[in-house]
């Protein structure tokens, strides 16, 4: 859908614009932990907690991994100027959401020195991508990867006996629950190859075959195609919230494991529509039950670099 593509392009180029708009009525500045307890909601025929529906993260977009509501780069830290479209007020660090990197305790990815230098290089050239490798893949309509997909627009979970399906704004993902083996290791995929099982309210997922081409934020953090991800989707008893934890193992890039934590909340017909976290609208029907749905998510027709994203507004 064209207007959505333009929207994505604008966000990719100037995420500053979106942040101010999307803060209203939804974003939280702390990670609300999902309450513990036995599942009280509906279940599927095979016993899975029924977590299907529309969801969104509650913290922010993929702009800055380790300071989700903070600035990104020197330009972003400049004080707001009157009349500047992208001017926004950035709160002091202790009033902003914490780093999404929940382990190690310093909130930073434990990069090997060369990898830290590479991340800094990506960040330096983010808005001036003089080489192809500096263009953020998301700006080219690439999938967000297993973790960053949760730092973007609201998304939908559909659930079936034997599988859980995630419909993201850019890319889709199937988690098989039937115990089948992983794909051959030589097949590296944008969203990896996922096998999961439920333990109570927690969906535990083993994600391999990662091509790791999607970065972990516009801030440039990355891993290699040798990375494996242990994901945990920890749902509260009522299914209103879940905490997403992803522990990355990658000897090629890291000195030790790290974990990314992303809080998520259910989107319902009562959720304020902000066209960012909540992309749903009421379905048209004769009944009285609230039914919400979302437009098709297709982002390929302007595929190319930043410039081509802009020209897609033809």
């Amino acid at each position: 859908m064209k207007n959505r593509l333009i929207f994505l392009g604008v966000l990719a180029i100037a995420p500053i614009v979106s942040s101010g708009q999307a803060l209203r009525g939804w974003r939280e500045t702390s990670f609300v932990p999902a309450p513990k307890g036995e599942w009280t909601g509906a279940r599927l025929s095979d016993g899975q907690p029924d977590v299907s529906g529309h969801w969104s993260n509650t913290i922010g977009n993929h702009n800055n991994l380790t300071d989700p509501q903070g600035p990104l780069g020197a330009d972003d830290e400049a004080p707001p100027q009157e009349g500047r479209q992208n001017a926004r007020r950035i709160k002091p660090r202790n009033e902003r959401a914490p780093s999404r990197v929940s382990a190690p305790a310093d909130g930073q990815i434990p990069f090997q020195p060369w990898a830290r230098a590479k991340q800094q290089e990506f960040l330096k050239y983010l808005n001036n991508p003089i080489k192809e490798e500096y263009v953020e893949p998301f700006a080219r309509c690439a999938p967000g990867g297993p973790t960053k997909s949760f730092m973007w627009h609201g998304y939908e979970i559909r659930q079936y006996p034997g599988s859980v399906v995630f419909l993201f704004d850019s890319g889709n993902r199937v988690i098989y629950l039937d115990g089948r083996p992983h794909l051959p290791t030589s097949l590296k995929l944008w969203n990896g190859d996922s096998r999961g099982h439920w333990e109570g309210n927690m969906l535990i997922v083993d994600t391999t075959n990662n091509n790791s081409k999607a970065r972990l934020g516009r801030s440039g953090e990355f891993v290699s195609e040798n990375a494996t991800i242990a994901e945990r989707f920890i749902f509260d008893p009522s299914g209103d919230r879940f905490t997403y934890d992803a522990t990355y193992t990658d000897p090629t890039v890291l000195t030790r494991q790290f974990t990314i934590t992303i809080p998520n909340r259910r989107v319902t017909d009562k959720t304020p529509v902000d066209d960012w976290n909540n992309l749903t609208f009421p379905a048209k029907h004769a009944g009285t039950a609230p039914i919400i749905e979302a437009y098709e998510r297709v982002c390929v027709e302007g595929n190319g670099n930043h410039g081509q994203v802009v020209t897609a507004s033809k």
Binding site: M1, K131, A142, R158, L167, N172, A283, I291, R297, N303
Partner: protein, 247 residues
Amino acid sequence: MVRALLVTAALAFVLRGQTNFSRGADGHPDFSGIWQSLSGADYGLEPHLATKDWPPGAGVVEGDAIPYQPAALQQRARNFAARAAADPRTKCFTLGTPRGIYNDEPFQIFQRSRDLTLLFEFGHPVRTINTNNTEHPDGHIDFWLGDSRGHWEGETLVVDVIDFNGEAWLDRVGDFNSDALHLVERWSFIDRNTIRYRATFDDPKVYTRPWTIEVLLYRRLEPNVQIIENYCSTLEYDQYYPVPSTK
């Protein structure tokens, strides 16, 4: 007595044969699975001889010819001449509806009572067929895959699809529709591993009358077969990521 038993057994066999497919908890046919067409329709909906680019095919159009208006026929000729670069498939764009169904890569159906989710290998997009008594949204909306609302007529899923963007093609030789296309699909089982897929095209901007295709969809039965994401649009740049120096 023996004869009566035989008749009964035969009757039971016939009845079982008629319902020899899975059903969901709601009693409707359950199309869940991975499906693929062997029709060759993506090479050309109409009958076509072999070239170096495609095998021959008897076509899938009832009556063989698509009833184009004269101007549309000229447009198809221009599409054909420009196909190497102009076919949305070669640009890795979403194939659209119905091309996503009969192109030569598989797709997976996930089914609930409220909807069917079609996950296509090529491009890895998702099309939803709503079966929850909802209607098309207001206005014309430019979707690649259209807006799909389905209902059951006996054992057949009938799907009404509108809201096309008119940019998708129907095959590799330039057959096309406009944004005014109104597509009606009919999905039914022949047996548990074969779907009969029929689609009727009505598009007053392009055709002189409605016309229909029929293809069969075969269930992929390999052990552990799964859709492998084909984000075709990423192929032209994926060499640059994640970091060239880690290669």
